[in-house]
């Protein structure tokens, strides 16, 4: 297996799918000549030309709509959001159109489209450019929402997202683009809606994705020295969510901690806690603990920024709270 970066994994996925299916094209701000604001589309313009790697004006609602229209008549657009913060500008197109056209048309028109780009807390980018974005989308029936945390997942899940006949929100991470990991050499995909146990353990189940997942894995290693065995579950797809993997894990460990980088109120942590209460109540030894970002916009100042997003100490405290130790 090759060791490549998360960014390269995404680039490979795009390249392979564009080679495989002539209906697939990439559209967005700076995807072509500039090679992508975060270089995910590096060299794609050279290989596929301007017809399939389309630079757009700064018109997020406009070019998301272009993607929807193209998808409705048979193409398979991959729309890049330079960052997902800008997807809010296109929220009407995503929520009221992409997500609902299949339903409103009684199943007549499909919208096989991927909207992808980085989202989540970044580094000193302040309130508008650094925030957990998934919560704006996973509430919406009709959308699928993917959060890949490793190069292997990023590639396999993006390929599945492109092949999926539904609109898929695929949120990457600025802070993960440079991270490296093993990626299979052969062609592979990872199905949407399937979680992965990233680390096995017996005492407590920690559920997290993206930066929080990596922090949870570090914490699990630290706590092992204290004799606490942490199981780390990565949902990978937030909607539809693989609840059975989460419930199986909790049924084994009897304790659950949900990590969420974004503001906690009405977040996915609340949803997962409820799922666990509904599906594994008789297995719980303590209330599900949420460790979430502060209920404040992202500050610029380094110290405040550090305090906004859960750090290892807060995750450890959450785990110990769940275990009552």
């Amino acid at each position: 297996m090759a060791i490549i970066t998360y960014r390269e994994a995404l680039n490979q996925a795009l390249r392979e799918e564009m080679r495989r299916d002539p209906r697939v094209f990439l559209i967005g701000e700076e995807v072509g000549v500039y090679q992508g604001a975060y270089k995910v589309s590096q060299n794609l313009l050279e290989e596929f030309g301007p017809k399939r790697v389309v630079d757009t004006p700064i018109s997020e609602a406009g070019f998301v709509g272009v993607g929807i229209g193209a998808a409705m008549v048979g193409l398979r657009p991959v729309v890049e959001m330079m960052t997902f913060n800008f997807a809010i500008v296109a929220l009407d197109q995503i929520v009221n159109h992409a997500a609902k056209i299949l339903y409103m048309s009684g199943g007549q028109f499909r919208v096989p489209m991927v909207i992808r780009g980085p989202g989540g807390p970044a580094v000193q980018l302040a309130a508008q450019h650094s925030q957990g974005m998934e919560s704006y989308f996973y509430h919406v029936p009709g959308l699928k929402v993917v959060r890949p945390s490793t190069p292997r997942d990023a590639k396999g899940l993006l390929k599945s997202a492109i092949r999926d006949d539904n609109p898929v929100i695929f949120i990457e991470s600025e802070t993960l683009y440079g991270t490296k990991g093993e990626v299979p050499d052969d062609e592979y995909t990872i199905p949407l809606g399937v979680a992965e146990v990233k680390r096995e353990g017996t005492d407590v189940t920690v559920i997290g994705w993206m930066g929080m997942l990596h922090r949870a894995l570090e914490v699990a290693q630290d706590l092992e020295k204290e004799g606490i065995s942490v199981e780390v579950v990565d949902p990978r797809t937030l909607r539809p969510m693989d609840t059975s993997t989460i419930l199986e894990s909790v049924k084994k460990t009897h304790h659950a901690v949900v990590l969420e980088a974004g503001a906690g109120f009405a977040g996915l942590g609340a949803e997962i806690a409820t799922l666990i209460t509904e599906g594994a109540f008789d297995y719980l030894d303590s209330p599900v603990v949420r460790v979430t970002g502060a209920n404040a916009p992202m500050p610029y100042a380094k110290n405040l920024e550090r305090a906004k997003v859960p750090d290892k100490a807060r995750i450890i405290a959450g785990i110990k709270q769940a275990l009552a130790v």
């Binding site: 094209f25 017809k51 757009t56 004006p57 018109s59 609602a61 406009g62 070019f63 998301v64 709509g65 272009v66 993607g67 929807i68 229209g69 193209a70 998808a71 409705m72 008549v73 048979g74 193409l75 657009p77 009407d92 197109q93 009221n96 159109h97 056209i101 299949l102 339903y103 409103m104 048309s105 009684g106 199943g107 007549q108 028109f109 499909r110 096989p112 029936p141 009709g142 699928k144 999926d164 006949d165 539904n166 539809p240």
Partner: protein
Amino acid sequence: MDKKVMVDLLYQMLLIRRFEEKAAEMYAQGKIGGFLHLGVGMEASCVGAISVLRPDDYVIAGYREHGHCLVRGSDPRLAMAELFGRMDGLSKGKGGSMHFFDKERNFLGGTGIVGGQLPIGTGVGFAINYRGGDQVCLCFFGDGSVAQGVFHESLNMAALWKLPVLYICENNLYAMGTALSRTQSVTDIYKKAEAYGMPGEQVDGMDVLAVREAVTRAVERARREKIPTLIETRTYRFRGHSMRDPAAALYRTREEVEEWKKSDPIVQLWDRMSRDGTVSDAEYKEMDKEISQVMEEAVRFAEASPEPPLEELLTDVHV
């Protein structure tokens, strides 16, 4: 002009008129719920424009789209069943008045968000070029949409990328209850085309032949030269914004409405054909009778159609 075409235009406008009148009646009887936006008085715009198209061309519209769908060839029975919220409706009863879709006829809806269809229609034009076809997409919207950001984004991209899209603004002079002069700094909407470097044209939206002529030119330009066009059809709705605004009395005068009714597009065309001797009184009456029967049948069909089974609640959420 070909008599057959003229008769067909008259037939289409009358069909839409009678359909919407029947819908209003059914709404009053409580058989149709929610929002029902009628385009009575505006039939010339959609009939004149869409009559130009080939079956493989595309049409997308907003929430006042019954006429666009019917002139595209959709079955009035299925359309009525959709208004009734029944399983045999165009969208299995899941869309209602604002969300008519007919894939077989390349009719892409049906959106309830003002201006939401503009970038989507633009994307259809993008897809036509991507595949190297010579179809066109007609994207209809009202004057209210022109104030939305996506109007400008869409026209910019279409001109920039040379997309075969006709942006047809059906300017009925009111964005819901707000007059054009109160929403637009420049009330001649066609002039906005200039800012995007595309042809713009204003046409009498009550004259189906004028609309047809202007759209024919623009469609040819789009097919052959990939040039988009902004067409403004000046028109008027005789009824309120929706069934909940029946009188439309707060924002316009009875005199104004009566004045516009003098240029009723159906009456205009019928007068002309009658004068020319293209259609006799008897033939017109026969046509109206036949259409009325179609509407009676549509209502019977809709009433007989079952409600969607409960499984439909959760189908079509995902493919």
